[in-house]
Amino acid sequence: MRKLIAGNIAVAAGFLLAGFAIWAQAPAEKPAAAPQTALEVLDANQYLAKVAAEHGKPLMVTFWATWCEPCRTEYPMVNDLVRQYQSKGLAVFGMDCDDDAEVPLAIHFLEKVQPVFPNYRKKPGKEEEFINRVNPKWSGALPATFFYDPQGHLFGQLTGEQKREAFVSAIEKTLATAAPQK
């Protein structure tokens, strides 16, 4: 009888230890990001300040709008790539180019796609100045994604519909501009 009880206790202890080991191994789950209910508005100077704030890291900035169908199509793919590449040191933020009346649509879109990177909104008005301050070679066509090296220099861009492979190639080229880890 004593042997039976001791055996059961040993088995129970074994399960407890195994359970503890599994719990200890499991990666801590990140708390779900709070849904974005508003978009910080940036003028051209504030946009460039956001870019400057990421100095030291390769950076990708994706411009989109709810009225831009290819933007809405590619955004989940971009989001998925960001999940993969953020751990490799890629900094990312999004720029919504919707007007004030379209903000509810933009918020609804972000709620649906659950981005893993922050999104801001271009301050309405002065479009041409903003386009030229981002990149004088940019026509203003959307979608457009810009890539900066760790020194903050505009390194490359993708405009129009692009396949996943084009983004992967651009991201990896951008990551390659980062200084090698010592």
Partner: protein, 204 residues
């Protein structure tokens, strides 16, 4: 003096280096727009009934306005009424007005139906191989090109500065048309605005 010249040359060389270093991943299918002062390209386009036509056939005594348009782009559609109003106003003042649809995803039938639905009375042509879009470096809709009576490009860019008509503060295209009509120089010759990229035919 020599030092000043060398300094200027150094700055120019640095700027050129920075510009050259910028890469365009994946967007090399949009050629650069020709500069103001360039001649209208002689490129065949298709009417919506499938006939072949020439852009110059639509010019009038004071010039030709070309607008790249879209059936589905919300920005282009936000300008439907304004484009029609511009067409009616400036046709009566001696300008030809023609729309060009260069989106591979929008058929001639769809373009014609869209024009009927929205009351667009100016002719719209199909640029099926994107030859005109490439020759003019057109990249989004709506994007406009204004040629004078000699077929010289005098204005390129947006219609005005606001998708929402209530927010307009600059009517750049109208100002350019007025300048040409009255024999004055165009003050603002190139402008930019957000728009939908033209859905080009993939290049092999």
């Amino acid at each position: 003096m020599r030092l000043r010249i060398l300094s200027v040359l150094a700055v120019l060389a640095l700027a050129a280096g920075v510009a050259a270093a910028q890469q365009n991943f994946g967007s090399s299918d949009v050629p650069p727009a020709p500069p103001i002062g360039s001649k209208m390209p002689a490129i065949k386009l298709a009417t919506l009934t499938g006939d072949t036509t020439d852009l110059s056939a639509y010019a009038n005594k004071n010039g030709l306005l070309v607008i790249f348009v879209s059936v589905q782009c919300p920005v282009s559609n936000a300008y439907n009424e304004r484009m029609e109003a511009l067409a009616q106003q400036w046709r009566s003042r001696g300008f030809g007005v023609v729309g060009v649809n260069a989106n591979r995803t929008e058929s001639a039938g769809a373009v014609a139906a869209h024009a009927r639905e929205h009351g667009l009375t100016f002719p719209i042509l199909k640029d099926n191989e994107n030859r005109l879009a490439d020759a003019l470096g057109a990249s989004f809709t709506p994007e406009t090109y204004l040629f004078d009576a000699s077929g010289t490009l005098r204005y390129h860019g947006r219609i005005d500065d606001s998708k929402d008509p209530s927010g307009i503060s600059k009517r750049d295209l109208n100002d350019a048309l007025e300048s040409l009509a009255t024999g004055k120089p165009v003050a603002v010759t190139e402008t930019k605005a957000f728009g939908c990229t033209i859905k080009r035919v993939p290049r092999s």
